[in-house]
Amino acid sequence: MVASLLSVAPSGIPEPFLRAESTAGKFFLMFFAVAFFAAVFGLVLFLASLLKGKRGEQGQGMLFAAPAVLLLAVGLLYPAVLTIIQSLRGKSGDGAFSFENYSAMFSQPELLTVLRNTALWVILVPFLATAIGLLYAILIDRARGEAFAKALIFLPMAISMVGASIIWKFVYQYKQTERPQIGLLNQLFKLVGLETQQFLLEAPLNTLMLIIVMVWIQAGFAMTVLSAAIKAIPDDIIEAARLDGVSGFRMFRYITLPSIRAAVVVVLTTIGIGTLKVFDIVRTMTGGQFDTSVVANEFYNQSFRYNAPGLGAALAVLLFVLVIPIVAYNIVQMRKEA
């Protein structure tokens, strides 16, 4: 204990303020951190209150913005630039300038599989989740127990993707056909007389099985946003259409869908961006083995497991580049709507 009190990290921070093993120590650290940052907050305010006059006013503004802006510059912008540089310096990230990592991404078979899987995810998840969410939102609109019905579908959004992966891994659990099944899906296969399957081992089926988990999570998000949009359609439009004899599918096609177009685009793109960065599900369910890896997971593996930080950096840059067109599309669509 004494030794740990005396030991000091390279930066000069005493150990007890850095790490703790006991529960009390951990909570002490937590309160210390909050107090420390509250003190910084107070100091900024105090310094600001000292500045007077017209110049002082401007100084106050800069002072208020400074902590956030500095943290972003040092902790996000600067690291991003370093990552881009690293991606251009070979597999190890510290060699000579080259496009090696980027050409590897589009030529190595394993990495091409990663790109193919990512494309599958980004195409399937947003459309399936949005379609199911929209269908459900329409079906339960104004129904009795709507709030409860919504909560059921929305609940997967609240839990971690790790938790969701465990839930589904159990659904997919494999036992030989003759033996009693413990995975629900294989039990159903057995009931209808099919051989049980190793759902997470056989490519490309396994990628589809992982995609189902993400759809399961995201449908609730789509449902919530679209349900709000449907409720915002003015009553008189629907009433007028109904008087003209429009109902059922035609009502959906010609009245509902055009009215909520903007919301649908937002939902599709938002889920698309989230899906592009999906990591937890792949990592927890297969670790990216058996041809299931996606860009965000491959980034982690290359950087931290295969000792190829340069390639990892290139994959991170790819992720960034892929996000941009989706955001751009979103902006263009919103402009059109406005």
């Binding site: 609240a158 009693p180 709000a228």
Partner: protein, 315 residues
Amino acid sequence: MSTLQPAATPESMIDDAVPPSSGKAKKTATGDAARAVSSRWASLVAIIIAVLWTTPTVGLLVTSFRTQRDINSSGWWTAFGNPGAFTLENYREALEPGATSSFSQYFINTVVITIPAVLLPIFLASLAAYAFAWMPFPGRDALFVAVFALQIVPLQIALIPLLDMYTNKLGFGASYWSVWLSHTIFALPLATFLIHNFMRELPGELMEAARVDGAGHVTIFFKILLPLLTPALAAFGIFQFLWVWNDLLVSLVFLGGTPDVAPVTVRVAELAGTRGNAWYLLSAGAFISMIVPVVVFLSLQRFFVRGLLAGGLKG
């Protein structure tokens, strides 16, 4: 600016707490009959979706209350035939302090990580948002657009250089400080943007009047703005809470898997890789990690939905 427009005004989101407007359709006898038939089909499809969506969770929940032997020898759906066999043993083992298979340490780590990682960005972002909204200074607008634009940067792009900074320059290594700081940094663009938009909507006369009375920015910030900001802070706070509580990547990169610091998510993910068939532990562990966000969800549903909508693009 428009990508995040739905997020921009949390107040404008129609929230679930509003009861569906009633008495919409003028009913006719034939329309009624047609609607009754179609609504029966609609209910059926809705129920099928709801069952599909809840069954997997129910399955694991039931499993977490079965003995290790039962779990591996029969399906969870058979458990209802023998209700006496349910047990709390898995949870006892998963929560027992000191045991190697225990999650209790990891659970504490999750709490210790989450609370500062929610509070810090709120402190910093509300200060910055106030400056961007109500305090003119040179370069302010350009700076705000830059902060706004940073929302689209995936956090992956910053991870490795940040890790290098923490270990080699700051000496944090695998300590809570690295995750607290990282979560704060990654949250700042969204938090600043959200709170700024909310502040812009407050009437400027409020600030003017206070200034005429001789109040400084500090007084205005605390006495006038903070109380008005509560809904925006709650929406962001809950979004950030869930984000951090459920996070895997950031903790995995900066903390690794040591029981000293690693959160439950990291532990559960690791167990899934190394002891993939230890369902008695995995199921209990998964539900231990889920219980807090689910309770938050059920009790704060309104803010929760707003927060999630607002933060849809983050990450």
